[in-house]
């Protein structure tokens, strides 16, 4: 029984689905690239020696791990991006709930929305994936990890597989994202969509703290593990703490902002306006924290474990191994990037009216941009602090077990690159859209935006 919410959502809020679409497209790209590469490897005629060398280099395993990562990351990121897409539909959902839609009907409609956009996303991702797969295999050959006789074989059979995976992961992610919006009483949904909800929520904060504490305990336990077990357990430390950071997001953003307030006072009004605005908006901003912290912490752990090992032992890992390890980190970071940018852009675009009102009230473009820049700085500071905390909590036990040192090592240039990358992402999601939105006359924005 179709009620039209799916149709209404996909037409009325089409731009809101760019995030889930990009996520699904990326997942299909990675899955396609990895599966076609794996097929090319297994289908190639190799001597037993070459085959053994391939297995020792872990290339088929790495391809499987990357594809697996892409699947679970896409569930996570479809969840995050669909949350933003559902937020746009709050009014429609409240109306439907009032006139008789059950929470289950709302959840099914949201799942259908994600499923419908997954199909074109998968097809596009398959196309890009073929190019990416070819490029990856070529690079593997170039790095000497794969013998040159292996030819890239694009397999059409991968398309239905990639599409099936995209639809399935999207539906799961969307169902999870729809739980809360589908359950709120319609009267609350009507008023909530008009006002900002404050930070916190006791249960949310409590669960967040619990996950953080759990991560810390696990991390302490990891320092007593054997080296290979420790590596596996470390992933759970990162995940627990990142999800915890997401739940604590509003509290963390408010806390960092309050701490920074004395410094912002020195900057003057733009800094203080930015601080006030961010505290009020902390709940909406917090979904951007999970992917950014996840990417920062994960990349940090990967890079620092190599640099520390080199620093302590004086031995450099083989370039090919490093390259394979960093390709995996890149897949991870790409997903995080899509999720973070989506949340930041969604929040920014929703503030077109606020931008217009500030200007109608007498602020100059430069003045408004200054406020937004300080907000971006505060978000970046929060992300860097939390990501560094999570990375250290994960790393220290690892380096303790493997290298018998308590102090991880990272060259300053690498650290600066990381901070710069984070800054570029946050600025692209906040300051850039503000600058573009302000090219419209303020009165037009105030009239047309919701």
């Amino acid at each position: 029984m179709t009620t039209g919410l799916t149709r209404q959502a996909l037409i009325r809020h089409r731009w809101a689905f760019l995030g889930p679409f990009a996520t699904q497209c990326l997942a299909a790209t990675v899955v396609t690239a990895m599966l076609t590469t794996a097929r090319s490897l297994s289908g190639a005629t190799l001597s037993p020696g070459q085959r053994r060398a391939l297995d020792v280099a872990d290339v088929p395993d790495a391809a499987a791990v990357f594809a697996g990562n892409a699947i679970y990351l896409s569930v996570l990121m479809v969840g995050v991006t669909m949350t933003a897409a559902i937020a746009h539909q709050a009014r429609d959902i409240a109306l439907l709930r009032a006139v008789g839609a059950t929470p289950g009907q709302i959840r099914r409609s949201v799942a259908r929305q994600a499923g419908v956009i997954a199909m074109p996303a998968a097809v596009l991702g398959y196309g890009i994936g073929l190019c990416a797969g070819w490029a990856w295999l070529t690079a593997l050959v170039h790095q000497g990890l794969v013998p040159a006789v292996v030819r890239y074989a694009p397999a059409p059979v991968v398309l239905p597989v990639a599409a099936g995976i995209a639809v399935a992961t999207s539906v799961v992610g969307a169902l999870v994202a729809a739980v809360r919006p589908a359950r709120v009483p319609p009267a609350t949904a009507m008023s909530e969509s008009a006002t900002l909800r404050p930070a916190g929520g006791r249960t949310r904060t409590a669960v967040g703290l619990l996950l953080f504490a759990g991560g810390a305990v696990l991390s302490a336990a990891v320092s007593t593990f054997a080296a290979d077990q420790a590596d596996d357990a470390a992933l759970f430390v990162i995940l627990a703490m990142c999800v915890g950071a997401g739940l604590l997001g509003p509290v963390l953003l408010s806390a960092v902002t309050r701490l920074a307030r004395p410094l912002l006072r020195l900057v003057g009004d733009p800094g203080l306006l930015a601080a006030d605005g961010l505290v009020a908006r902390s709940r909406r901003m917090s979904p951007a924290l999970v992917p950014l912290v996840l990417a920062g912490a994960f990349a940090g752990v990967k890079v620092v474990s190599h640099t520390t090992a080199e620093h302590v032992t004086g031995v450099r890992d083989p370039a090919a191994d490093l390259w394979l390890d960093y390709s995996g980190t890149a897949v991870f970071a790409a997903f995080a990037l899509v999720g973070a940018l989506n949340t930041l852009l969604t929040v920014s675009l929703d503030r077109e009216r606020e931008l217009a009102l500030l200007r109608l009230a007498g602020a100059t473009r430069a003045g408004v941009l200054a406020i937004w820049t300080w907000e971006a700085v505060l978000v970046l500071c929060t992300v860097l602090t939390v990501a560094a905390g999570v990375a250290l909590a994960t790393l220290v036990p690892l380096t303790r077990t493997a290298l018998h040192t308590w102090t991880p090592y990272l060259p300053a240039s690498w650290l600066a690159t990381g901070v710069l990358a984070g800054g570029v992402v946050v600025a692209t999601g906040t300051v850039l859209p503000a600058a573009l939105l302000m090219r419209r006359p303020a009165i037009e924005s105030a009239r047309t935006s919701p």
Partner: protein
């Protein structure tokens, strides 16, 4: 006729925000007989929308009991409550009443398609004709004027033949002439079909169309009578909208 469609017994609703609680509704008791048109008035923040939301099963009261079409909605599970709303209740809100990308007919059939009472094609056309929208069934709602959209909402609320229609400022976003037409449609439904209407409004002229007038102040029911003339309504509204005498923040015991 004569049974109570809506009953509230000592209903209170408290909202929590930032640790501080506010009682939007305090021990309100009320019975609405079938086939009456009730208007609820009060100043902004007097609790009139909260009263409507609680009575309609859109929100759950903090204390007290609400009986809707004979069933205690305060004890119903969410899914059962939703089914009760879709089978027995119609809604008209001030705005955001329609799904803009769907056609007029799809909007009118919404409740039915969500699993509510079956509606025959002829009934849709008859209802659209009754609200003055004959022949517009295939048009996209987003392309209609505000007044037409509001009439689509009235058609959607009436087409399932509900026991009671709840209307929250149904004319708040309309000009007086267009608003008057929407009110007349609700009045006709009461007179011809025996529907019960509970309507929140801050417009004395809109309230005049009702049979019974309730006044709220600080979440309490302060006046309940047959609807007087417009001047008296306006005077009463002004009286309850003035500054509260005594402590207004007492918590009901």
């Amino acid at each position: 006729m004569g049974e109570n469609v809506v009953e509230l017994e000592a209903v209170g609703r408290r909202y929590e925000s930032d640790g501080a609680g506010v009682w939007a509704l305090r021990r309100v008791s009320l019975r609405v007989r079938a086939g009456t048109y009730v208007a609820v008035m009060g100043a902004t923040g007097s609790g009139k929308s909260t009263l409507l939301h609680c009575a309609a099963g859109l929100d759950r009261p903090t204390c007290g009991r609400v009986l809707l079409a004979g069933r205690d909605v305060t004890r119903l599970r969410e899914a059962t409550l939703t089914r009760l709303r879709r089978d027995r209740v119609g809604f008209v809100f001030q705005s955001y009443n329609v799904l803009s990308e769907l056609t007029v007919r799809q909007n009118v059939l919404l409740t039915s398609r969500l699993g509510g009472p079956r509606v025959r094609a002829g009934e849709v056309e008859a209802t659209l004709t009754a609200v003055g929208l004959a022949g517009t069934g295939d048009r996209r709602v987003g392309a209609l004027s505000g007044g037409q959209q509001q009439r689509v909402a009235v058609a959607r609320a009436l087409v399932t033949r509900p026991a009671v229609v709840f209307a929250d400022e149904p004319t708040g976003a309309l000009d007086p002439t267009t608003g008057g037409r929407v009110l007349a449609l609700l009045r006709e439904a009461v007179d011809r079909e025996g529907v019960t209407v509970v309507m929140v409004t801050h417009d004395p002229v809109a309230a005049r169309i009702s049979d019974r007038l309730l006044m709220l102040r600080d979440g309490r029911l302060v006046s309940d009578s047959a609807t007087p003339d417009v001047a008296t309504i306006a005077a009463r509204l002004a009286a309850v909208s003035g500054p509260a005498e005594g402590a207004g923040a007492a918590v009901p015991g």
